[in-house]
Symmetry: D2
Subunit: 473 residues, 4 copies
Amino acid sequence: MIPNILAERYASSEMRDIWSPSGKVRYERELWIAVLKAQDELGLSVSPGAIEAYEKVIDQIDLESIRKREAESRHDVKARIEEFCGLAGFEEIHRGMTSRDLTENVEQLQVARSLEVVQKKTAATLAQIAAKAEEFVGQVFPGRTHNVPAQPTTFGKRLAMYGEELLHAAQTFSRIAASYPVRGIKGAVGTQLDLKTLFSDEKVKVDQLEASVLKHLGFSKSLHAVGQVYPRSLDHEVIAGLVGIASGPSNLARSLRLMAGHETASEGFAPGQTGSSAMPHKMNSRSCERVNGFLVLLRGYETMAAGLAGDQWHEGDVSCSVVRRVALPDAFFSIDGLFETFLTVLGQMEVYPAVIARENAAYFPFLSSTTLLMEAVRTGTGRETAHKAIKKHAISTVKDLRSGEITQNNFAERLGADSDFPLDTADIEKVITGAADLIGLAKEQVGDFSTQVNEFLRPLNPEWKDYRPGQIL
Amino acid sequence: MIPNILAERYASSEMRDIWSPSGKVRYERELWIAVLKAQDELGLSVSPGAIEAYEKVIDQIDLESIRKREAESRHDVKARIEEFCGLAGFEEIHRGMTSRDLTENVEQLQVARSLEVVQKKTAATLAQIAAKAEEFVGQVFPGRTHNVPAQPTTFGKRLAMYGEELLHAAQTFSRIAASYPVRGIKGAVGTQLDLKTLFSDEKVKVDQLEASVLKHLGFSKSLHAVGQVYPRSLDHEVIAGLVGIASGPSNLARSLRLMAGHETASEGFAPGQTGSSAMPHKMNSRSCERVNGFLVLLRGYETMAAGLAGDQWHEGDVSCSVVRRVALPDAFFSIDGLFETFLTVLGQMEVYPAVIARENAAYFPFLSSTTLLMEAVRTGTGRETAHKAIKKHAISTVKDLRSGEITQNNFAERLGADSDFPLDTADIEKVITGAADLIGLAKEQVGDFSTQVNEFLRPLNPEWKDYRPGQIL
Amino acid sequence: MIPNILAERYASSEMRDIWSPSGKVRYERELWIAVLKAQDELGLSVSPGAIEAYEKVIDQIDLESIRKREAESRHDVKARIEEFCGLAGFEEIHRGMTSRDLTENVEQLQVARSLEVVQKKTAATLAQIAAKAEEFVGQVFPGRTHNVPAQPTTFGKRLAMYGEELLHAAQTFSRIAASYPVRGIKGAVGTQLDLKTLFSDEKVKVDQLEASVLKHLGFSKSLHAVGQVYPRSLDHEVIAGLVGIASGPSNLARSLRLMAGHETASEGFAPGQTGSSAMPHKMNSRSCERVNGFLVLLRGYETMAAGLAGDQWHEGDVSCSVVRRVALPDAFFSIDGLFETFLTVLGQMEVYPAVIARENAAYFPFLSSTTLLMEAVRTGTGRETAHKAIKKHAISTVKDLRSGEITQNNFAERLGADSDFPLDTADIEKVITGAADLIGLAKEQVGDFSTQVNEFLRPLNPEWKDYRPGQIL
Amino acid sequence: MIPNILAERYASSEMRDIWSPSGKVRYERELWIAVLKAQDELGLSVSPGAIEAYEKVIDQIDLESIRKREAESRHDVKARIEEFCGLAGFEEIHRGMTSRDLTENVEQLQVARSLEVVQKKTAATLAQIAAKAEEFVGQVFPGRTHNVPAQPTTFGKRLAMYGEELLHAAQTFSRIAASYPVRGIKGAVGTQLDLKTLFSDEKVKVDQLEASVLKHLGFSKSLHAVGQVYPRSLDHEVIAGLVGIASGPSNLARSLRLMAGHETASEGFAPGQTGSSAMPHKMNSRSCERVNGFLVLLRGYETMAAGLAGDQWHEGDVSCSVVRRVALPDAFFSIDGLFETFLTVLGQMEVYPAVIARENAAYFPFLSSTTLLMEAVRTGTGRETAHKAIKKHAISTVKDLRSGEITQNNFAERLGADSDFPLDTADIEKVITGAADLIGLAKEQVGDFSTQVNEFLRPLNPEWKDYRPGQIL
C-alpha cells in the first residue's frame, strides 16, 4: 500500500488518529449513537438495549470487513451501517438521516478536532518564541533590509517580530475555530424534511435533536439554511487560516537559513548529532528548509480549497469530494508537520556571538554615520563639511574592503585622521562601539510581545504551551 | 495611457478614489500632518503656521509636478515631500520618519478604507438576499443534487442557503477588519530608533505619538515588534477574506446561470433593455458569469498574497513591492466590481413560475415515491409489493420519456392502473400535488436567515444596507 | 497506516507501481547497476561477479529491513545502499556518486515513466472521443452560449470541440515528454568533481559514463551545467502540462453534467447498475463530477510546483523536498484517476434523442429567425416589415411560454397568421424543420478532427489507443 | 484615470503598444480589412474603393468617439464597427462575422505578438548570461548547498546553471509559440454557418477565407472544431510557459540577493548612481528583488488561467471575460517588466574578488578534507588514523571560530602540528590552495552552455540577442 507520506513521515500520531480510516469510523459511530440517544429522549421508539449494544462495540473497527461489505453493496455508507449493526445486533441507527447527514458532520468533526490540535501547537510555539526572544533580547547585531545591514537591532527583537506575526494569525485562527459552524442533520437537500416527518411535523423536536447532536459534537453553532453540503468556503477559510499560521514560523525559518549562511546562527543539531566529519562547518538548515516547504504545500491546498469555494451547483454534488478527501487531511498534516519541525528548531537553535561580534565590527562603523554626523555638528563643525568627510571615507573604506586593499574596516582611523572632521579616532571608535546601544526600543518591544503572548495563553488550556514535539526524521 | 481595466470598467468611484494616485498622495499628506500635529503637542518645535500651511494646500495635488521631481531626484518619497513642502512653504514634515514609515502606513490606510467599502456592500447584499429569500419563500420547485431533481425545496430557501454562506463570511470579515493592525512609525528596522532619539529617549512620548497617529488613521491596534515592513500575511488574510466574501454570491450567480438554462429564472434585464430581437428567448447571464469571473481573479490575487506570506528576509525588502502594487488594489477592485454586478443582478432577477410549474409536473411524481410508499403501506399493502410496483412504473415512465414514447410524465396513471398497488390514479395525483408541501422546514429556515441578517445589520451604519449599485456595463 | 487516498482509491496499479516505495527501491537498484556496468566497461576495477550478484537480488525488496537500517544510521540513502550490498555480498555500488546523484535521477525516472502512462491514456481518450464524435456527428441540437440555445450544432461536433482541445494539449505534452532532460551524475554541487577524479581527469570517460547511464534510463537528453538539484521549473512544466491535458476532459465532463440536468444526455451507468429505485430519473453525474474534481487538485499541485520554480538558493537544498514528495506523485495519481474515470464515462455515456427532439421543438423556431427573414425578403416583403413581424411574435411567444399562457412553442402559427408576414404557417414550419440543417460545417469539422487524431496516433504504440480503464469506485 | 501600474511603471512601450486600447482597435481593423480582401478575392461583392477607404483611415483612432458610440448603443463591437465605417464612408466590414469572430482572433493576435516580444528578450537574456558565464568562468568560490559552502565551483558555472534552466524553458516556449493555434472565423457556435451561407455552401471558399485570414494574422495553424470561444487552456499554456521562462532569471536574481548579503557580488548600480552616502556599504538588491516579485505575480496569473481551463460551459460564455482582460495583458506586462529589470541587472552586476578570496580562505580548508585524506593515505598512514585527525582539528577549528577563540581559520596549522597526521602545515596549505582547482568540469560545462545558447540563437532574428533594456525606475 502506498502510504500518505505527509501523515506517515511528518505528522504526529495525534493528527494521524483524527484522519485515519478507523478514526473516521469511530467518529461516525459516535454521531450515530448521539443521534439515537437524542431520538430516544425525544420519544421515538428505540429498542431497549440497542444504545448500549452499539456503545459496547464502538471500538471494534474491522476495516477489512467493511471493505468487503462495500465491494458487495457498492455503497460505502451502507457498508458501514451494516457493519456496525451487525456487530451490535440491532438495526436502529441512521434513522431520519441521509448519507451526507453522516459524512458532512463527521468530516466537520475531523476538522474541528484538527483545529484544536493546531491551536495547541500554536500556543506552544508562541510560548517558545517568547522565551527565546527574551533569552536573546540583548544580542545586538545589524538588522538587515534588502539582506544588507541597515541599523542595529537584537536577535530577540527579530524573533519577537516573527512571533508577533504568529500571534496575530493565532488570534484570527482562534476566532475561526470558535465560530466554525457545523451543518447538522439537514436531509437530502437541506430542508430537514425527513426529521420533520419523523417527528410528525414538530419543529421543536427537530430543533432539540439538532441541539443535542451539536452538544455531542462539541460545536457551538450550526448552519440553518444549508443544502446537501455545507458551503465549501468554510474549508477555504480554515486552510487560509493555516497559511496565516504558517507564515510567521516560515519567516523565522527563512531568517535562520540566511543566518546559517553567515554562521551567525543555526538551527542546531539534535542532541548527540554532529555535523559531517568532513565538513564540520556545514550547519545544514534541513529542518528550516522543510518548514518553508510545508508553507508551499499549504499554499497549494489553499488553491484547491479556493477552487471549490463559490463553485456549488444548486444544493450540491460530489465534484468537491476527491478534492476534500485530499486537501483537508493533507493541509492539516502539513501544518502539523510544520509545527513538529519548527518546535524542534526552536528547541535546538544556536546563536554564535563571536561571529556576530565580527559582523558588528565590520558594519557598525557604517551604521554609526548618522550619530557621528550629529556629534560632529555638536562640536561646531558645519553639517555639510562633516557629511562630506564621512561620505568620502565611508565610500573609500568600502571600496578598499571590496577590492582587497584592506581586510578590516578602518573607517574610524581614516575619518579620525581627516582634519576636516572634528572627532579623533578614539572618539569615533567610542561612537561606533556605542552603536550597540542604537537599538531603539527593541528591548521594550520584546517585553511587549511577551506580555501579549502571556495574555493570549492565559485563557487557554495550560498544558498546551508546554507541548513538546516528537522525534522528527 | 493604459488604464487599470478593473478600476475603470468595473469598480465604483468610491473604490477608485481610495487607490487612485492622487488619493494616495492625499492619504500621505494626512499622515504627515497628523504626525506633525502630534509632534507639536508633544513639545517638538514646529514652526508657527506650518501646520495650517500644510493643511491649506492638502488638496492641491499635481501629479505631473511630482512626476517631474521624481525624474530628477530618482526617489519617489522625496519627490512627494518636496512637492508638499514647496506648496506649503515649510520644511517640517517627515521628521523622524523613514520612507517606509510613510508608505506602509498609507497602504494600510488604503486597505482599511477598502475594508469598510466591502463591509458596506456586503451589508447591502445580505439585506437584498434576505428580502428576495422572503419574496420567494413559497416558490416551490425541485431541489437539485448532482444537478438533477432530488427533493422539493423553495427558491427562497435556496437564496437563503447562499445568503447564509455570505453571512458567515461577512462575520469573519468583520472580525478581520476590526482586528487589522497598523504598522505605525517604527523606523528603518522597526526599533523606533529615530523617534526615540527625537524624543530624547522618552519612551512615553514615542508611545503617545503612536497613539495619536493611530487615532488619526482610525486604527484601533498597532504592531509592536514589527520590522521595516508589516507582515505580508496580513495582506493574505485580507484577500483570503475577500475570497470568502465572494463565494456565496458566486454560488448564487452560478445557480442563476444553471436556472437560466432551464428558463426557470434569469438574471433579468436592465429597465428598458430587451433580449436580442432575433433570439428573444436568450436570457444571457452575462452579469452572473462576470460574478463568477471576479472570483477567479480573487483566487489568483490570493495566490499572489500567499506567495508573499512567509517569504520575508530579515527586516524586509522590496521583493513584495510590485506584487502588492498590483494585488492589493486589483483584489479590491475585483470584489467591488463583483458587488456592483451582483447587486444589479439581485435587483433585476426574474423567476418564471409557469416554467417552474412544468418542471414540478415533470418531476414531482418521482419525488413523491417515498410518500406514495408510506400511503400504500398504510392501506395494508405489503411494503415489498408496493415498492416493486412503484419501481416498475417509475423506471418504465422514465424510459418512455427518454425514448419519446410519451412526452408527459404519466406515472400516476400507470401506477394507479396497477392492481398490485392499492391507490388509484386520483389518490396518487393528490399525493403528487401534495409534493409541494414536502419542503420540510424550508420556510422556517428562511425566517431564521432573515433574523440573523437583521441581527448582523443592526449595529452597522444603517445606510449601508440601502446601498444601491451604480450603472454597470 | 494512512493510505495515499489518490493512489489507493483512484489511480491504476500501473501508476501506483511507479511511485510505490518498493518501485522506487527497484529504480534505484537499476541505476546503481547501470552505473556499475558503465564503470566496469570504462576500466574501473569492479570485482568479478559483483554485477551479477547485484542483478540477482534486485527484486528482493524488504522495506521493513531498510526501515530498520535507516532508524539506526539516520541516513536514508545509506540504509538502502547497505541493504542492497548486504543482499548481494558486495560493496561496489554508489562509487563516485552522492546521494542526490541517486535520488534526483530516480525521481526523474519516476516522472518519465509516468509521462509515458499519461501519454498512453491520452491516446486512448482521443481515440474514444473521435469514435463518439463520429457516432453522434448527426445528432443535431441547439448549441448553447451563455448556457442558452444559440444556433444548431451536433453532439458529435461538441465532442470534437473538447477532443480538439485535448489533442492540442496532447501534442504539447508529447513535446514536453520528448525533451525532458535528466540531471545525470553530477556530484555535490554539479561540477562532476567526483567522477572526474574517479576517472583521473579523463573528461571523455565522464561523458561516456553519462551517456551510458542516460541510455539505461531511457532519456535522450541531460542537463550540463546543473547544480546539486535539477531546476524545479521542470516539475512545474510537467504539472502544468497535466493541467493542460485535464482541461478538455474536464470541459466535456462539465457539459455532460449540464446536459444531465436537461436529461439530453448522461454519463450512463455501469453494466448492471440502475438508478435509485425511488428516483429512477436521477442520472447522478458522479464520475463527471469527479473528473472536474481532479482538475481542481491538479491546479493546486501546479501552485505547489510554481512555488518551487525560481526559488532555488545557490546550488540547492531540501526546501523543495517535502513539496516534491507530495506534489509529484499526487499530481500523477490525479491525472491517472481522471483518465480512469473519464474513459469509463466515455464508454458508458448515453444520449437521449427523444428529449433532444423536444428541446429542438422548443428552440428551433427561435433559432430559425434569420432564415425566416431571408425567405421573407426573397418573396419581396420589405426587410423592416418582416423583421418587425418576427420580433413581435417571437417576443410574445416567449412571454406566453414563461407566463404559462402556452406550453408549446407556437411561434410558427402566430407568425403564419400575421398578414404582414408573407409565409404561411406550413412554410414557416418547413423552415423551422430545416433548422436541423443549419449546422454549418459541423460534420466536416468532426471529420477533420478524426483525421487529426489518427495522424497523432499513427506514430504511437498501437496498443495505447485501445487501453481500457479498470473498474472504478 | 487609474493607470495599469504594470504597464506604466515596468513594461516596455513595445509591450504596451500591443495591449493598449488603440493598439487593439488597430488590430481589429487589420482583421476586418483582411477578411474583406479575402471576401473580395473569393468573389463576394465588395464596393469599389471600399478596401482602400478603410485602409486609409486605419490609423485614425479616436477612443473618445468610440466610447460615446458605445454609451449610446451599449454594444462595444457595434460601436467600433460604426466608428470605422463612419471614417471610411462604407459599410462593408464584419460581413459573415459575429462579435467573437472579431474579439477572439484579435486577442489571440495580441497574445501572438506578445509571444514574439518574450522570445526576443529571452534570446537577449540567454546571450547575456552566456557572456557573463564566460567572463566569470574562472572565478572560483565555494558552491553552496543548504546556503552553506559545500564544494568549490565558479561563478561562471553558477550563471550557466541558471542560464541552462532558462534555455530549456526558452525551447519549450518556442514550441508553444510555434504551435499556437488561432480560432479563426467560426461563427456563433463554431460551425462556420454564416460563412458557409455567405459562400452558398462552398466549403472550399470557407477554407480559403480561413487560410487567407491566417496568413494575414501570421498564424500557421487554426482550430477546426472550436466553439464560440477558443479553449481557455491555451491561455493557461501560454502563462505557464511564462512562469517557466521566469524561473531561471528569478533563481539568478535570488542568488545575487544572497551574495549581496555576503558582499561577494551585487546587482550593481546604474552608471552615475552611488549608494546612500550614509550607508555606502548598502548594495540594495532592489532590481533582483523586483525580478522575484514578478515571478510571484506570474504564479498568480497562472492560477487565474488555470481556473478558466476546463471550466467551459457548452460552446462558451463570458465568465472568462473579466479574467482574461486582466490576466493576459498583466502576465505579459509582468514578464516584460521582469526582462527589462533582469537585463539591467545583467548589464550592471558586479563581483568582488577580494571578498570572495576571504570566503575561500575561510572555507577551502574544510572543503579540502577529502583531498587531504587521500594525500595522507598515499604516504602510508592508515585511513582511520588520518580521518580521525582531520575530524578532530576540523571540529575544534569550527568551534573556536564560532566561539571567538580564533578569528582566522588555522586548520592547516593545527593539523600540520598533529603527529598522527603525516603532512606538515606547508603541505597542507598547498593542498588547500589547490582547492581552487577542485572545480571538476565547471569550465567545460560553461563552454557547453555557451555552445548550446549559440545553437539556440542561430536560427533566430540576429537582432534579438542584442536587445538592450530601457531605463528602469
